[in-house]
Structures are given as C-alpha cells and as structure tokens.
Symmetry: C2
Subunit: 174 residues, 2 copies
Amino acid sequence: MHTFRNIRQILTYCKLSNLLQQNLAAGVHTGRLCLKQNKLWHLGKINHVALVSPDLDKSTALYRDVLGGDVSDKQALPEHGVTTVFVKLGDTKIELLHPLGDKSPIQSFLEKNKSGGMHHICIEVDNIEEAVKDLKAKKIRILSEEPRIGAHGKPVIFLHPKDCDGVLVELEQA
Amino acid sequence: MHTFRNIRQILTYCKLSNLLQQNLAAGVHTGRLCLKQNKLWHLGKINHVALVSPDLDKSTALYRDVLGGDVSDKQALPEHGVTTVFVKLGDTKIELLHPLGDKSPIQSFLEKNKSGGMHHICIEVDNIEEAVKDLKAKKIRILSEEPRIGAHGKPVIFLHPKDCDGVLVELEQA
C-alpha cells in the first residue's frame, strides 16, 4: 500500500514507476533481466510487412477470397507513388503495394522481381527523433537526413539494407 | 435478456452464438458486412516474418544492441536445417535464420542473396487440415502433400510463391 502526502508525490511516483517499467521491458534480453539506463527510444510491434504485387486486384483476391483475410479497399497514395491494400492480421498487417505514377519508389523492385515479392518490414518506435540520433551515432545509414511523413501520415525513416543484413527496415513513429 | 428452460437450450444458444460470431468475423471484407457459410478455417495473426542472415551473431547484435529488441538465444534445429534467433515484436516476431548442415532448405536462398534478405511470412490458421483441402480445391499449390511438423513443433504447410505473387507463405496451425 502506498500513501501520498500531495499531488507532486503521486506524480513523481508515477514517473519513476513508468521509467522503471520501460527500462525493465527494454532490458529483457537472452533470458536475463538487466536494467538499462538512458534508453531514450524503444522498438514496438511490427506495423506492417510490405509486399510488392504486379497485379493488385489478383493479390487482393488471393488474400480476401482464397485465404479469407480481412482486406481493405484499394487506396491511391500519389504523393508516395504507390497504391495500397491492407490485410489485417492480428495487431499487424500485410501491406500490398503496386507502383503508381512515373516515379514510384517500388518500380525498380518490380522490374527486378516481376512476380512480386517481400519488399520491407516496418517496426514501430516510441521516439523516432531519438532513434535517428542513436542510429546515426551507431553508424547505421538512414535513407533520408530527417524523418519523413510516411504512407500512414506518421514520421518514418528507412534503414539501409546493407546495414540490416539485406533487409529494408522502416521505422515508424507509433 | 435471454431466459433458458434447460441446459440443452443454453448449450444450443452458445454454439449458435459462437458460430455466428466466427462467420461475422470472417465475413468483414472491403468494408461490407456479409455472412459467410461453411467457412471451416480462418486466418489468424502473423506468427513470424523469416529473414535469412549470412551472419547470425551480427544480425543478433543488430536487433539486440543497435535496435534494442527483445532477442532470444540461438537455437539449432538440425532436423529443419536451420539455426534460429527470435526477435519478439508485439504479438509476433522476426525469425532470423541461418543454414545448418549440408541440406539446409535456405542454402540456395543465401547463395542467391549473399547479403541475406526476407525469406517468408508465416500466418496462423485455426484448422490446417481444412485449409489444405480448401486451398487444393482452389488450385493453390502446396509444397508438401500433407502438413509437416514445423520449427515450432506445430503442423505447417508452405504455399507455392508462384501462386502467392512471388512470396513464400507458410501457414501454421495456431
């Protein structure tokens, strides 16, 4: 049982308690429990796995009619050069992408992978500004100088596949 | 308010209610609500996204020390020809894979993708036997005649990438 004398004491307790919980959550590695200090950002859940499709209607039919998934309507995002369809799976989703317009960032991927394929994985972070500082300090190359507004209207960065074992990793502000 | 005369009435009500809920959940597509009949299996959450790594220690260090993820110990699975490391992310995970032994099923992938890359996506299903019957009837090619026991000790099947827009899709019994 905790007793508090005033509101300031309660706020201090809550702040310390949250900080401790965050550090404990971040410190559970390889079966050991360790308390990390000064960790200013944390990985969250997988926001989506992006697949590039040569035929969005065919892919939509696969995930909706053949596999029975919960599939969104098609959405054109001309400012990102893609048309998207989402397949909701638990607390994450598959994002089906098809190039839109002349300068689509996924056009070259589709030319190299004519049948389509897995394009990138997007993981949420709780503080993208701190993630950028930390990752730059750790010599991980980021594909833009600053976070940009991504397809979901939130700041995102992409990490260089050469620094992530051949995988294009997107980090998105949760 | 419901009133029931006997236990049989209650059981019948519960069974019908569950069936209705399952069908409703399976029937929410493209913004429309439709009641599907006789759907004997359903897609669940993404169980994992599998990445092949040319250097498992380096990849483990990336996800644990650089990105601050919750990373498992290395696990050798000689019967599956892989060594694995899991990165827990929300209710799903990244599965880092490296070939083990002479006949590893991911050896050729690593030869084609020397820096590593995204290998497959695994989605849970609630009834894999019914999924197999249904998908065969829908002319989706499955890479084994019957479900096999996968790396997590549960029955799995792999769908042919040519029938899934260039993506290797694994379905695992939940």
